[in-house]
């Protein structure tokens, strides 16, 4: 089978991403991009105290499938992702687009082998700033265990304020990892709860995940995000 390019995602506590990246570079990764995000809080006590977010870092590494498997093994061991709340990692098949390739040329890979590999899905929701928590809440109601929130901005829309500002609306991007069987329930719950059907209310899409580590499956089969 041809080399499959993937993007390897890890979510760890803030400050740890550099260490993870160094370890990954030892394994042969070329480089990575680090984003600042927020994880959800599981502890009820902390939530009562008003803590609703934990600082996280998200590390994205572009890697071949082989390398990303190696990364899973090494990083899991080095940072004990298997323990609760230590961090999670997952792989999303992505194709690195090069100038030389065009859409038609490379239709070579085997569809079914790829489909079989999908164990989880990553639901990504982009909503207006402030509604990210709402989104996580409704996802939780539908069975998701947690989510990671990243602040982002949308592309500019000119407005009619006194200063000719091109307002770049601030957005919350929510990543929720969930098992294959639950994905549609959560998706539809978010879709209806946040009223994404209306124009401008936000968008939602899913990415297939071929491998995860650090997600703790509990008894009810729920998928525990490492972001507690």
């Amino acid at each position: 089978m041809a080399i499959i390019e993937t993007l390897f995602f890890t979510v760890v506590d803030r400050g740890k991403a550099n260490a993870v990246l160094h370890k990954a570079q030892e394994c042969g990764a070329k480089g990575g991009t680090i984003l600042l995000g927020e994880g959800t809080v599981q502890s009820k006590l902390l939530r009562k105290m008003g803590v609703t977010e934990l600082h996280k870092e998200i590390l994205v590494i572009s890697a071949s499938e082989e390398l990303s498997n190696k990364l899973h093994d090494t990083l899991c061991e080095a940072f004990s992702f298997s323990k609760r709340n230590k961090g999670i990692a997952f792989t999303v098949p992505f194709k690195r687009w090069h100038k030389q390739t065009s859409g038609q040329e490379a239709n070579t890979s085997n569809n079914s082998s790829y489909d079989d590999k999908i164990t989880h899905y990553c639901i990504i929701t982009v909503v207006d700033k402030g509604r990210g928590k709402e989104c996580i809440k409704s996802a939780k109601a539908a069975g998701a265990r947690g989510g990671t929130l990243i602040h982002a901005r949308g592309a500019g829309i000119p407005t009619d304020f006194y200063f000719p500002l091109v307002i770049e609306p601030q957005k919350d991007v929510v990543m929720i990892i969930t098992t294959k069987d639950k994905v549609s329930a959560i998706r539809e719950k978010i879709f209806s709860d946040l009223d994404l059907g209306k124009a401008g209310h936000g968008i939602l899409f899913t990415l297939p995940i071929t491998r995860t580590s650090g997600l703790v499956e509990n008894k009810s089969g729920e998928c525990k995000e490492g972001t507690s």
């Binding site: 080399i3 499959i4 390019e5 990246l21 480089g31 990575g32 991009t33 680090i34 984003l35 600042l36 902390l46 105290m49 008003g50 803590v51 609703t52 934990l54 600082h55 994205v60 098949p93 992505f94 194709k95 690195r96 687009w97 090069h98 030389q100 859409g103 490379a106 239709n107 890979s109 085997n110 569809n111 790829y114 639901i123 982009v126 402030g130 982002a152 901005r153 949308g154 592309a155 009619d160 304020f161 006194y162 200063f163 500002l165 091109v166 307002i167 770049e168 601030q170 957005k171 994905v183 539809e188 994404l196 059907g197 124009a199 936000g202 968008i203 899409f205 899913t206 990415l207 297939p208």
Partner: protein
Amino acid sequence: MSLLFEKTKEVLRTLLPVVILVLLLCFTIVDVETDVLIRFLVGSVLLLIGLSVFLFGVDLSMHPIGEYMSQEVATSKTPIKIAILSFLLGFLITVAEPDLLILGHQIQDASGNTLKSTIIVYMVSIGVGVLILLGVFRLLRGKPSYNTFMAVIYGIIFILVFFVSEEFLAISFDASGATTGALTTPFVLAISLGLSNIKGGKNEEENSFGLVGVMSAGPILAVMLMSIISGQKNIHGDAGEYVYAEGVLGPIISKFPGILLESLIALLPITILFFFYNFIKFKIPKEELKGIIIGLLFTLLGLTVFLTAVNSGFMDMGRIIGIEIGKMSPWILIGTGFLMGLIVVLVEPAVHVLGEQIEEVTSGHIPISLIRSTLSIGVGTAIALSMVRIVIPAVKLWYFLIPGFLIAILLSFIADPVFVGIAYDAGGVASGPMTATFVLAFAQGAATIIETANVLVDGFGVIAMVAMSPVLSIMILGTIFRHKRVEYPTIAKKPAVTSHLIDEINLEHYCILVIVNRGFAEKVVDVARQSGAKGATIMRGRGTDENQKVMLPIINIELQPEKEIVWFITTTDVSAPIADSLLNDQQLEQDGEINVFISPTEAMVRTFSTIHASNDNE
């Protein structure tokens, strides 16, 4: 694990050196009563708790309030509303600052009652209001550039310097230290961040800082003008007899209610303004509002405990150390002053807040430890020079102050633009409650022992120095930063043969993920739009690549360059043209170091594909 624990750890790390230094001095060269020592230790514990809780509360309350208020300012449709609102913000936070009232009384005494303290408080507050107004207009218009703007303001200050006496020079700079208190600085930082977030664009990062710097020029101008207009030149009188507190817990408990009231008054105007706007405009969801209210309570409690600890536990200790060391050789005094400045500044609440904001804004690109060390060195030098001034009366304050600011202003034109804002902010940030109590008490202690020194004048000078030196030191760092080396080892670009693993699945949408250097996201969106993309989501991050190393000269620290990540959701028919056109753009390829990834976005788009298409314009 928990955020509060994180803060406590952070505060502990900065507080520990201070405690160790003081204990070391106490057990070696300085003779301190047991009571004072125990009170210092109790104070340290209280400070740890108070500051952690305070920082935690600021995160929960000041941040969102600043964001909402700045949104209200920026999205106004008339200039008058922007003017009124930003003036009001500056005025209200300053007029309630307890330190300013204390300063007002000091000036009233010093001027022999010709300047009334209430007039001083209002004048300074108006000064801050006007400058915040100008700063907000500058930020939103995007011109003149920040360094020119600050150069003009300080140019005016320099002209005024010739008309005021040395005493009032010290007082006016001190007034700027007094207004940038523990509460106002985090709030103004949040406003600055909020405004720049809304404005966005290429200078977003630069705009996230600098408002504190603008604001701290207000009091300087106001006090100088008052001194000139009233014709007041000389300071009369001397500092009152200093009374040491007795006992261990007594002073702590007795100070608590008064400080609680002061903190409450300081917090009230912002809170009222926010709730007023919330009532008529924002209408924030209940849960979020609850978080803000809890945050406000934490802020109040934390601030009170912190200030009580500093006032009762640290002030006497600072003064005793000052007196004892002042008796010894001047060199020990200067050395101790340097050490004290070095470590005490890191305990300042606003320094923590600024550090956090720098991390947030630059996605970790600027190492906070670097900023902190630079601040430390700056303040350490400031205190050491202040000690020199106490020892040698011939050395005047303006010998340091004027050249310091002059060099800083010159450097601001060649320094890395992000640092210019941070540097001007740093002056206000460093001169917080720790400096105003502990370090000031130390300096005054030393001044009482050395006969040639004037307790009042030298005391004022210390804060002025602390407000100046970080501006200079961070500006120097920014100049170094500007000349960072970017190394690109030449690599043979081999066209990798990659397969499409995704094409066969019957999907209607693709997710395109683009990683570029910071500043190119807008360009990416433009190019993609021409090829048929509708909208995009942009995130900030930092990244490394083995082919690209960013190094700082002189100090040789490796940096992680900042990146922007752009997500597109497109229909299948346009995804390939978009990716191709992105990669074919010369500028993006060479300067932006673009990377494009494509993946199918599944299922959801199947279910809701028709609705989805119309929502794409996020």
